[in-house]
Subunit: 158 residues, 2 copies
DNA sequence: TTGCTAATGATTATCACTTTCATATTAATC
DNA sequence: GATTAATATGAAAGTGATAATCATTAGCAA
């Protein structure tokens, strides 16, 4: 049973990776950019990393196997990921920019544990709808939004 | 009519200022800190400034009349304001920390125009309640939260 | 006043990026 | 496969906001 779930997760993960690689590659082509070894390596690492990773963390992880890839390239490449739509830049107020995986047309918000750093994702359609109403009542047109709940996770409360 | 409203606003503003000055002064005393000319001047400027002011802006405004007050002192003093409860630090993602006025026990969220920078405050009890429910369903205990809606304000849409 | 402590402000440091620029790589064309 | 023009890379220097340092000054209690 456990094995079965793992298999499913693995397959879904692999399919997702392939899809994102294609999206990024198409983006590169469309923009007249070049496909490079560095971009491929960084993409591979990003896709198999935590869902909310700081640039520093990703760079350190990379450096272990690819000491020749520069800091600047990692920064530049993550920006491209965001631009291509496979990643989103997020700030949890700790002074470090993080990049998270995004799926086409999906959106979610975050619960952030201020003790252990755990990040839980959630979706709430009712909240989203109310946000639109608030915006509308002020004549605003929402383009993006940010909802983050900071506090103590279940584990840290014990 | 207009005059009357202005009078009321002025009076409310003056009362509010006095109240905040007292809160800050009590805080200073309680913590064994010292009351200084700089702190008084900065507090006065802060209380009569925009509701969401960057440190830089406040510093420049101050410098016109008080060229002897240092940058570091402004930073330090605004932190004290936040600690004392009369101000709250906010980040709208433009790389500058802002400080906003807060009233005892009050909370509000923000609509931020990405074109002209206009900031509108709003409160929505239903959203707040739903946030608590989301947190509870994940075993989280919320300490603070951040809800910001970014987009185009009514004026900029025209 | 005196004496102790905290505050100030000029300066320097830090930290997370961002830019620069000489060199290397890519990919289209021949 | 060689040529070539354009983009990418990475080491290093630059930035901008904020924090720390430290010699000097100011508040305040006795
Ligand atoms: Mn997420
Ligand atoms: Mn506000
Ligand atoms: Zn936790
Ligand atoms: Zn606007």
């Amino acid at each position: 049973m456990k094995k079965c779930n793992m298999k499913i997760t693995f397959n879904r993960g692999a399919r997702m990776k392939r899809a994102k690689k294609k999206i990024f590659h198409d983006f590169i082509t469309r923009k007249g950019l070049k496909s490079t070894r560095q971009r491929d390596v960084i993409l591979d690492y990003f896709l198999s990393s935590d869902r909310h990773m700081s640039i520093e963390d990703l760079y350190l992880k990379l450096r272990a196997k690819h000491p020749n890839i520069g800091y600047a390239t990692v920064y530049r490449t993550l920006k491209l990921f965001a631009e291509s739509g496979i990643a989103r830049e997020i700030q949890f107020g700790d002074g470090q920019t993080r990049y998270e995986h995004v799926a086409e047309g999906e959106h979610h918000d975050h619960l952030v544990c201020t003790r252990c750093g755990t990040i839980v994702e959630f979706k709430n359609e009712t909240i989203e709808k109310l946000q639109s109403e608030v915006a509308a009542s002020h004549g605003f047109l929402i383009e993006t939004h940010k909802l983050e709940l900071y506090g103590m996770c279940a584990k840290c409360r014990k």
